[in-house]
Symmetry: C2
């Protein structure tokens, strides 16, 4: 296996020199694109779309046909693992994901087991193979999973929650039960991401969407510790190539020092953290990904370019004093600080990508 023709994304994650700052967007294959909505309509519903390798491949490639993105990301849902565990994932119209059988009873928690990714999650691996074939080594393919705590939030709450009352009651009252769920989830995510790597993904990202809702102490015990276990268990190389791992905790800006110690290659940041300050704190240990406010894409192209340039300059400002010439951009993957909004005007994304590629520190 060789590196893709455009490997700036992988090089940035490994803090090697780059031709330009690479860029991809969380949720880049999504509802803001009319062609995505058309494919989804054909699929009948969102779960069919996720579970059809051919359609998942089709939507994965859609944003790359429109924009000069430096990476593709596997189109899938964050909740495939608990679905494979038998919790019965479904989508109520306009309400987000739900589970038919949320984890509310101790017996159900004790009954959980790690799904074989080549059995219940075969459709994901098939999609990876199909996407890699279609990409034809143009750009790298990113695999992903939710973090153990983020998966547990949905599994215990039974869907989205504004206060995470059910899982936090468990956390404070029965931490042993939550640790049991997280232990199973960590094993499941490790096996799932390793199967994605074996199937062809060239980097992985762990989405810790809800870790930021925890107290500073609980974050370390109930989220970060399990992410660390996954990172230690992942294939570090496959077919002779390094497989970098990105960890993104939404709202995790206060905890970067701890996060930079767990052995991952890069940290994703939301827009509340200065990339320059983060680089000064942890840039000698990890690459950084982020962090434009997705709402900036609702402004005019000129304003978008100005705001993107501020993000790029902020990162460059954190370069070490003794850095060699040309290195201010090294170690930065440009992204939004969260998924792109479904209401984003698609033509605004072009302005962003061009600004990132044109930037020189």
């Amino acid at each position: 296996m060789a590196r893709p023709n455009n490997d700036n994304f992988l090089r940035a994650l490994l803090r090697e020199p780059v031709d330009h700052t690479p860029v991809w967007l969380m949720r880049q294959a999504g509802r803001y694109l009319p062609e995505y909505n058309e494919t989804r309509r054909r699929a009948g519903n969102f779960l069919n779309l996720c579970k059809s390798p051919t359609l998942a491949c089709e939507v994965t490639l859609q944003p790359l046909a429109r924009y000069k993105l430096d990476a593709a990301i596997l189109f899938s849902d964050i909740l495939t693992i608990p679905d494979a565990m038998g919790l019965g994932l479904y989508f109520a119209e306009g309400e987000g994901p739900k589970f038919e059988r949320p984890l509310r009873e101790e017996w159900a928690i004790r009954d959980l087991s790690v799904p074989d990714p080549y059995d219940h999650l075969r459709y994901v691996m098939d999609a990876v193979v199909e996407i890699r074939r279609a990409l034809d080594n143009s750009v790298p393919l990113i695999g992903f999973s939710g973090s153990p705590f983020t998966l547990a939030c949905y599994m215990v709450e039974g869907g989205s929650s504004s206060d995470h009352r059910a899982i936090k009651t468990m956390l404070y009252e029965r931490p042993d039960l939550l640790h049991h769920i997280l232990d199973i989830n960590a094993q499941a995510v490790t096996a799932y991401l390793n199967a994605q790597i074996e199937s062809g993904v060239q980097a992985v990202q762990i989405f810790d969407t809800w870790g930021g809702s925890l107290s500073h102490r609980a974050f370390r015990e109930f989220s970060l510790a399990y992410i660390q276990r996954i990172v230690s268990g992942l294939h570090k190389t496959w077919d002779g190539e390094r497989i970098p791992c990105i960890v993104f905790t939404k709202g995790g800006g206060q905890w970067l020092d701890a996060m930079a110690e767990i052995g991952c290659d890069a940290l994703g940041l939301d827009w509340t953290t200065s990339l320059g300050e983060a680089r000064r704190r942890v840039g000698h240990k990890v690459a950084l990904q982020g962090n434009l406010d997705p709402m900036a894409l609702f402004a005019s192209p000129d304003a978008i370019v100005a705001e993107a340039t501020r993000v790029l300059e902020d990162y460059a400002s954190g370069a070490p004093m003794d850095a060699p010439a040309g290195s201010p951009m090294t170690g930065h993957v440009f992204n939004l600080g969260h998924g792109i909004s479904q209401f984003t005007p698609p033509e605004h994304v072009n302005a962003l990508i061009e600004a990132v590629h044109a930037f020189r520190a």
Copy 2:
């Protein structure tokens, strides 16, 4: 005017020695109390409750009858100011606050003016006078307001919002318009809080509920700068007593250093920040308020006591090395990291308050 009989709350804010760590709870007069729901039912609706000084006084005192709280907080709504500006506040059942006339047009923004707190907001001042009389100098009364940016969120969005799309589009595309709104809001909040002080409140808190949704740069420009203007314009003393000011930005833990410079007496923290670390960073400049996760109150009393003790010990751990004996608790007001949940079992609150009062570092 003399200090109240129990002035531990005021002393903690001014970093003077205390008998015990004082405690109050954000939203302590609220829906988790059956007596509150009964008064609200009698009022007919929430706005009537806010606008009746007698009923507002009644619910302000309810939690103090149940619990040994160290402060009362004026019962009112965060959106009284935009209501007084003529935006037409109303509450749709189960949907939170809404405005009949959100700020969507430039002419409406240019038309905004600062309401006279003794005219349109007279009912709030009357409530303050009535509550002070009823408290009979037992504990201090806290006044409050939303921050200029937090008020603007509701004024521009027209209600609650999960992504703040409307106000952020304005922020990135027409920052001049947003600055105009914030300028008017800052003047209005200053006049409103000063009128509360003149009417009898003994400390004030600025609730910057949505400042944490901003980027690190936008927070300084669009939220903190206006809070600073308010703090500079507040009465520092009234009737010979210092009037301390607390600033609480939910999600502001990364920005404490900047926040500690604006001249307020205390910063409120949510549960994502370690009080010990915060004290080491800014404890020589400001007192700190917080920061138990409100969801901890759903655990058993034993677990609540354990978690509250961890918060108290965390604060004590940040004491300077050269601190005199007995000082580890100085400068801490115990609180939740956010408002108490309406689903909290009221009897659990007793366990919390007793644990805080019994604590000795």
